[in-house]
Amino acid sequence: MDVMPKWAEVILVPLISLLLAAILSALVILAIGEDPVAAVKLMVTGALGSSYGWGYTLYYATNFMFTGLAVAVAFHARLFNIGGEGQAALGGLGVALACLYIPWPHWSLALVGAAIAAGLFGAAWAAIPAWLQAKRGSHIVITTIMFNFIAASLLNYVLVNMLRPKGAMDPASARFPEAVQLPTLHDLLAPLGIEFSKAAPANISLLVAIAACVVIWVLIWRTRLGYEIRSYGHSESAARYAGMPPNRIIMVTMLISGALAGMMAINNVMGEAERLVMNAVEGAGFIGIAVALMGRSHPFGVFIAAILFGFLYQGGAELALWTTIPRDLIVVIQALVILFTGALDNMVRMPLERVFLALRSAPKPGRKEG
């Protein structure tokens, strides 16, 4: 059934996609009169060349792992959850409320509490579109994306009118108390004798995200629920015939998905900003879609893709700081990568499949690259 060997599917396709995106990006940079080689160098040193750069790359990657997993889980049930943005925003609200109004004695307890609050808020935000899909057949793509706008407006209202401290001008909540400050990678690695930048925001949430990758892998491939989710994704009628209730699967899958997206907030709201600001999600919900597509909805693939996008994000920020390449063009470059790895997957896959077919039908040459 599989035309291509596994390694080609997992490594070659994304790699060629990336290469194409890189070539196009280079052309874009050339067209505005900048040096693409220097730009790439700047991106690499800025994102990976120092522990400071790594700290930011991993910080962004943590965000993308959560949102990527959220999309991936839903995708196994053939549900396209593009509401990660709104679910993560609501998760931020959950974290802010938990951190501001509960006097936590220690950060570890606060982390658990905030993660639960974030998950609950995110799940609640996903529950309504899920219910509409399950009971009313309203398409999840439409409802989740509309819920992003509602979430933005809701957060806007809450921040401006309720959480903003009296007299403050910017729409942001008060700073969280010292007790809920999460240890950064600097704090975590110092006892091991590894010097890590103090300024970088990567924090213990990274470990939570990695743990989430493992848990989701177990859930999807080693549990009964995961089997149901995958069965439903492959064929609703078969799942129904096998006695799996579709409505329940839709609801549960979307709740898990929303909770994962919401949990992103322990990284960006609790770990980094330590207060809730406007637009705290910064598009991570949408990047999650690209991450899940590129990672082929496999938790390990999501992990790798999240780090790649973390690199792109941090590298892009460096470009904005140190070159005259306008911010908008950096978005274009990031978008090209998303386009090639996500949307234009078949453009690379189909010719590649043809090549492999040709190689296979040829009498002997074997399956090495040749």
């Binding site: 120092s50 806007n156 690695l189 590894i194 890590f196 990695i210 207060r275 705290a280 700081l321 140190w322």
Partner: protein, 333 residues
């Protein structure tokens, strides 16, 4: 998890701090964007002037979202930029958390006067004084006795502008009506010319024939609509008289450019640890008079306003500040 350890190992091996000390000054623009023709552009003008006069260069970045504030601050500080000049009250909180981590870097923040930090120089402006003067002008130029005020984001700072303006209007014509509207409650309100235009139209329909925009980039829409509808407008922060010659009554100047220029000139020796408030006396605020609005401002107007200016400087006339008790004696928002 072996992959993870490998990554971290590589990270640890890499040397910390990529850029050597450049000691270039850095300028962080607020969400309105560099070319808002107003607040941020004034800063850019000042920086540009410094660069031309000294032949040196400066770093700059336009923020895209709230979340970038801290990263931009840290990145410039890590790279050795000094001083780092930041624009707007949104920087108050990020600065209080970043500045202590970089004791050798000097930070300058415009429009913030209430935070603490040994290496932070805070610069505020007496916007109510300048707004008072343009308010007087508006009342004198108005034929209908109704004038408008379009604010950007609804924050105390902008109410402060509006309050000074209303007092100036009432000083000339106690029966005058001041219509005040805010564009929004989020930073997006600094860059929404379409909404600014709508608000201006609404105010015109209520009889306003002079409209004062204190709204950053949103003001571009206010001035445009005022010119289209053939009424007068008042610009803010930068001199905006040139944008619609003969249609812009004046501009309330807030010399952000001078503040930025001075900070860059002082360089790493910029004085920190205190608050500087620039008012009429320091020429930190004022009104713009040039060839574009000369025909609109007659001698009588000019004499009255200059007299008021002298009185404010000497302390004989005191313009009430919105900040004093978070309310305005002559205007409800």
């Amino acid at each position: 998890m072996t992959l993870m350890t490998k990554f971290l190992g590589a990270a640890a091996a890499a040397a910390l701090g990529t850029g050597a000390a450049l000691a270039e000054p850095a300028l962080i623009f607020d969400l309105g964007g560099k070319f808002d023709k107003s607040f941020n552009e004034a800063a850019f003008t000042g920086a540009q002037r410094w660069a031309e006069e000294t032949g040196e260069t400066f770093r700059e970045i336009e923020l895209q979202s709230e979340a970038q504030r801290e990263q931009a601050l840290r990145r410039f500080a890590e790279a050795g930029s000094n001083p780092i000049i930041t624009m707007g009250f949104g920087m108050a909180d990020p600065l209080t958390s970043v500045a202590p981590d970089y004791p050798d870097t000097k930070f300058v923040v415009i429009d913030v006067t209430w935070i603490e930090g040994e290496n932070i120089s805070q610069i505020g402006f007496a916007e109510h004084e300048g707004s008072y003067l343009v308010g007087m002008m508006a009342a004198m130029a108005s034929k209908t006795g109704t004038v408008g005020f379009v604010g950007g984001m609804d924050v105390p700072l902008i109410r402060h502008f509006g309050c000074g303006y209303a007092q100036g209007v009432k000083a000339v014509n106690p029966d005058a009506k001041v219509i005040a509207n805010m564009t929004g409650t989020t930073p997006a309100a600094w860059n929404d010319p379409v909404k600014g235009s709508e608000l201006t139209k609404a105010q015109i329909s209520q009889g306003a024939d002079v409209v004062y925009a204190a709204a950053g980039g949103t003001g571009v829409g206010v001035l445009q609509t005022a010119a289209d509808e053939n009424i007068l407008s008042i610009g803010v922060d930068s001199n905006q008289n040139y944008m619609h010659p003969g249609k812009v009554l004046t501009s309330m100047l807030k010399r952000v450019d001078v503040a930025v220029f001075d900070a860059m000139k002082a360089g790493a020796d910029v004085k920190t640890g205190g608050v500087i408030t620039l008012g009429l006396a320091e020429d930190g605020v004022g009104y713009a008079l040039d060839e574009h609005n000369a025909a609109l401002v007659n001698d009588e107007m000019k004499a009255a306003i200059d007299a008021a200016r002298e009185k404010i400087i000497s302390g004989e006339l005191e313009v009430a500040s919105y900040y004093t008790n978070d309310s305005c004696p002559v205007l409800d928002f």
